[in-house]
């Protein structure tokens, strides 16, 4: 595969950011962007997009489950332990 146009580079930039490309394609991309400001600007905007997604706390995520939810979960967990749990490890605690 030979990368000749910016469009060829654009198509591979997510895999480039994720380190999922074979070395020869990586080298070709780096050679291309070294000399191509539009591709650099585009790559940076894509990198920033991914970074923002990674930092997103969507919906103002609540810090924890509400009490009534937690109680129901605790019960489900106790049921699991009674039926399947390896109580041997925790019996002495």
């Amino acid at each position: 595969m030979k990368l000749e146009r910016c469009q060829d580079v654009f198509a591979l930039l997510s895999q480039y950011l994720d380190h999922e490309l074979p070395a020869d394609l990586c080298d070709q991309i780096e050679a291309h962007i070294a000399d191509c400001p539009p591709c650099v600007a585009f790559l940076e905007s894509l990198r920033k997009t991914v970074e923002l997604c990674r930092k997103l706390q969507a919906g103002g995520v609540p810090a924890a489950a509400r009490d009534e939810h937690r109680r129901a979960l605790q019960e489900a967990y106790q049921r699991f332990l009674r039926e399947h749990g390896g109580c041997s490890d925790s019996s002495n605690s």
Binding site: C6, C39, K48, L56, Q57, G59, V61, P62, A64
Partner: protein
């Protein structure tokens, strides 16, 4: 610490009933699952329900977990199914494809210069938590993605699953994960680019 290893260790503690494991698990997974469900379903109330249903299912089926090192993918698979069940009651959107050509930026030849029409991204704040308008825009961009792309982007870029784990959760190939992720990112990128241009014009 290797996160996959710590997940496996946590689930072993959970199965063994070690003290503190339950609290640690709920504290770690509640916010993750809430965020996932919220972005998939779009409603806080639905997201809370889906999160709770998912965690109840986890305890119900924990004895069937065969590979603790794949715990995260296993949990998100349950969450995915809970989301589908929830949405079956509402509208079911037909599959939409994002076309790569439409998402690619246009470069123009200007003499011997190549130019790209792009917003000034350097003005974006580093800390999205401090910027609620930007956060809302990003959420809206993600929620506007057709579902098959949204599902991949949320698992990979927001929940931090690997390509392989994401493929497992969604029952698709790793190549499909990569293709869809790229298109999803491009779509979100162009949405934010648009936002930055209009925001830039306002100030």
């Amino acid at each position: 610490m290797d996160p996959a290893r710590s997940d496996a260790a946590l689930v072993e503690d959970l199965i063994a009933g070690r003290p503190g494991a339950f609290e640690e698990f709920v504290e770690l997974y509640w916010p993750k699952l809430f965020q996932y469900s919220y972005l998939m379903c779009g409603q806080r109330e639905d997201a809370e329900e889906v999160t709770q249903e998912t965690l109840l299912k986890v305890f119900e089926k924990l004895d069937q977990l065969r590979e603790p090192e794949r715990f995260k993918a296993w949990v998100f698979r349950i969450a995915r199914n809970a989301c589908y069940m929830k949405r079956r009651k509402s509208v079911f959107a037909p599959v939409q494809e994002l076309s790569l050509d439409e998402l690619m930026p246009v470069t123009q030849e200007d003499g011997d210069q190549r130019r790209l029409e792009i917003a000034d991204w350097s003005s974006l704040p580093e800390d999205i938590a401090l910027q609620s308008e930007l956060r809302e825009r990003l959420e809206a961009a993600i929620q506007s993605l057709p579902e098959i792309y949204r599902a991949v982007l949320i698992l990979r870029d927001i929940e931090g699953l690997s390509t392989q784990e994401t493929a497992e959760v969604l029952d698709i190939t790793e190549d499909a994960v990569k293709t869809r992720l790229h298109r999803a990112r491009l779509a979100v990128r162009s949405y934010l680019d648009e936002y930055l241009r209009t925001a830039g014009a306002r100030t």
